[in-house]
Subunit: 308 residues, 2 copies
C-alpha cells in the first residue's frame, strides 16, 4: 500500500513581520510529502519542476521515502514561483508574484509503479489536473482527499465541481467554504458542500482550529495557541500531509480515526509555522512530533460525567 501525492513543487519568496526569505523551496506537494513522511512511506509524488530546482532538494525528498518517478523535470524551463507578504495578523496575505512557468502546461503522468496507491492526496492545483491524475488510476483508491482554493472557485467552477464528485474528502479553509456556498454559517456551508460529492469535509480555520464533518457527525480540533507564528506558508498543506499520512499508515478511514488524523495534521501544521518555509519540517524529529501531539491532547482533554 502506498500514498500518491500530487501538487506543486516550487519556489516561494516570503515576507512576514519577522523577516523575509530569498527563493526557498515550497509548493503544496513538498509540504504534503514532508509532513506525510513522518507517518507513512513510500510517498509517490506526481509533479513538475524546472531545471532550476535544486537537485539536492529532490534527493532530500527521496531520502524521506518520496518516490519521484512521477516528478517531471523540465530542464529548459523554470519552476513555479510564488512571492507573498503576510500582514501583521498572519491571517491575510498579498500575493506579490505568481509565475506559473512549468505549471502553465502541466500534464501529469502517473507511472505504472504508482498504480498500487490506496491513498491519494490531491494538493492544491487546477481541478482539471487533479482529475487527470484520478483518471489515470486503474483501481479506485480507498481514499481520495482534495485540497483547493478560492482561485479555482473563481476561475474553474465547473471543473472544480466535476473533480469534487470524484473525491471522498475535501479540505478547504473557512473563507473558501463560505465563498463556495454563499452561506455564512459553517454548519450550513458544510451541508451544501457534502451534497456536492465528498462524504467528508475538513474546514480549516487557521489559528482557530479545524472542523471535520461527515453526515451528521462533527469534530473540532483546536489550533495550538502559539507565542509566535513565524511563517504560515504551507500550514494547510502540512496539515493535509499529516492527515493523509496518518490515515494511510493506519489504513483506517473510520470517522474516529479521521479525528485522530485531524489532530496529527494540526500538530504538524503548528510545528511548520515555527520557522520559515520547510525549515522546521526538514529538521523535525519523530519525538518532537509525538510531544506536540501530546500538547494537543493536554489542550483539549477534560472529564465530565453526565447522567444518562
Amino acid at each position: 500500500m502506498s500514498l500518491l501525492v500530487v501538487g506543486s513543487v516550487a519556489f516561494d519568496a516570503i515576507e512576514t513581520p519577522f523577516g523575509k526569505t530569498d527563493k526557498i523551496i515550497g509548493g503544496a506537494a513538498t509540504y504534503i510529502s514532508l509532513s506525510a513522511s513522518f507517518f507513512h512511506r513510500p510517498i509517490k509524488l506526481v509533479s513538475v519542476v524546472g531545471g532550476d530546482f535544486p537537485k539536492e532538494k529532490i534527493e532530500m525528498l527521496r531520502q524521506r521515502g518520496v518516490e519521484t518517478e512521477g516528478l517531471q523535470i523540465k530542464e529548459n524551463e523554470k519552476s513555479f514561483f510564488w512571492a507573498g507578504r503576510y500582514h501583521i495578523d498572519m491571517n491575510s496575505r498579498d500575493t506579490l508574484t505568481t509565475e506559473l512557468n512549468v505549471l502553465a502546461d502541466f500534464h501529469p503522468v502517473v507511472p505504472e509503479s504508482y498504480q498500487d496507491c490506496d491513498y491519494v492526496m490531491l494538493g492544491n492545483l487546477s481541478p482539471k489536473v487533479q482529475r487527470q491524475v484520478l483518471e489515470q488510476l486503474k483501481k479506485r483508491p480507498k481514499l481520495i482527499v482534495m485540497d483547493t482554493m478560492n482561485f479555482w472557485m473563481e476561475t474553474a467552477w465547473d471543473e472544480l465541481q466535476k473533480t469534487l464528485k470524484m473525491v471522498d474528502v475535501l479540505s478547504i479553509n473557512d473563507e473558501e467554504a463560505r465563498q463556495m456556498t454563499q452561506a455564512y454559517s459553517l454548519v450550513k456551508a458544510a451541508k451544501k458542500i457534502l451534497s456536492m460529492g465528498p462524504h467528508t469535509l475538513i474546514i480549516k480555520k487557521g489559528e482557530h482550529g479545524a472542523l471535520l464533518f461527515r453526515g451528521n457527525q462533527v469534530f473540532f480540533a483546536p489550533a495550538l495557541p502559539l507565542e509566535e507564528v513565524f511563517d504560515p506558508t504551507g500550514a494547510g498543506d502540512t496539515f493535509a500531509g499529516g492527515f493523509i499520512g496518518y490515515l494511510a499508515e493506519s489504513n483506517d478511514i473510520s470517522f474516529d480515526n479521521m479525528k485522530r488524523a485531524v489532530i496529527y495534521g494540526s500538530a504538524m501544521a503548528s510545528l511548520c509555522v515555527e520557522k520559515f518555509g520547510t525549515e522546521r519540517l526538514e529538521t523535525l524529529t519523530p519525538q518532537q512530533v509525538q510531544a506536540r501531539v501530546q500538547e494537543f491532547v493536554d489542550l483539549v482533554q477534560f472529564e465530565i460525567e453526565l447522567e444518562n
Copy 2:
C-alpha cells in the same frame, strides 16, 4: 455557601439580521444569574433598577433562586438601557443607544445576609463599583471572577488595574486581551495579564471557543458550530454564569475543574444565542443543558495512544 453576583439588570433593544426586539430585559447580572441558577442556588444579587423594571421579572429571578435583598429599586428613576445592532457576521455590533440612568450613580450595598458568599462574580460594570463590592466583604471569598470590557480599558485604566489585583479569574474576549496588552499573540497577552493580578485568565473567542490559562497550563474549549446564531447578546455573561455556577456548586477551584466549568459555560452560551435576549435561558430545562454538554463532549473527544 453561596454565590454573589454583581452587574447590571437592565433593558436591551436588539437588532440582528434575524429581526429586532422592543425593550426586553437584559443586563450582565440577569444573564449571569439565570445561567448560574441551572447549577447553583442561592444566587445573591447586587444591582440596581428603576421603577420601570417589570416586577414579574424580578419575581421570575426569585423563583430561580436569586435573592434580591441587594437589588436596589429606585422607583422614580429609569433602568439602564442599551440598544445595539449586530452586523451580518454577528461578531461585531454598533451601539445605538446607551442610557446609564440608575447606573450613573450606583453605590452597591452588600447586605449582611450576603456575607457568607464564597464565590463572587463581578459582571461587567465600572471597575470602581466592582471594587466597592469586594471592599464590603468581611471574609475573602474563595474565588472572585471578574468580567470587564474595552470601554473600561479606555476610560478607567487605573481603576481597572486596582480591581484586577483583587480578583482570581479575569474573563474577557480576544480583542480586549489584545487591547489590554498591545500583544497580538494571545499566549503573550495571557502572560502579561496574568502578571497584573489574576492567577487565571479566560479569553473568549466567540464562535471560535474559549481559552483558559493558569501558570503554564492552557485549556481550549470549542464553541459549538451552530447553524444559526440568532442573537449573541448576553453570550459572554451566560458563559460566565455557567462557569461560576458550576464552580460554586462543585466547590472545587482546581484547574481540572475549571476546565469542566469552561465547558459548562460554553454550553450555556451556545444555548443562549439560539433565541433573542433571555428567552432561551428562561425556557430551558436541565435535561437540555445536559444534552448540550454531551454535544460538546462528542465534538472534541478523541483517543490517541502515545508512546511514552
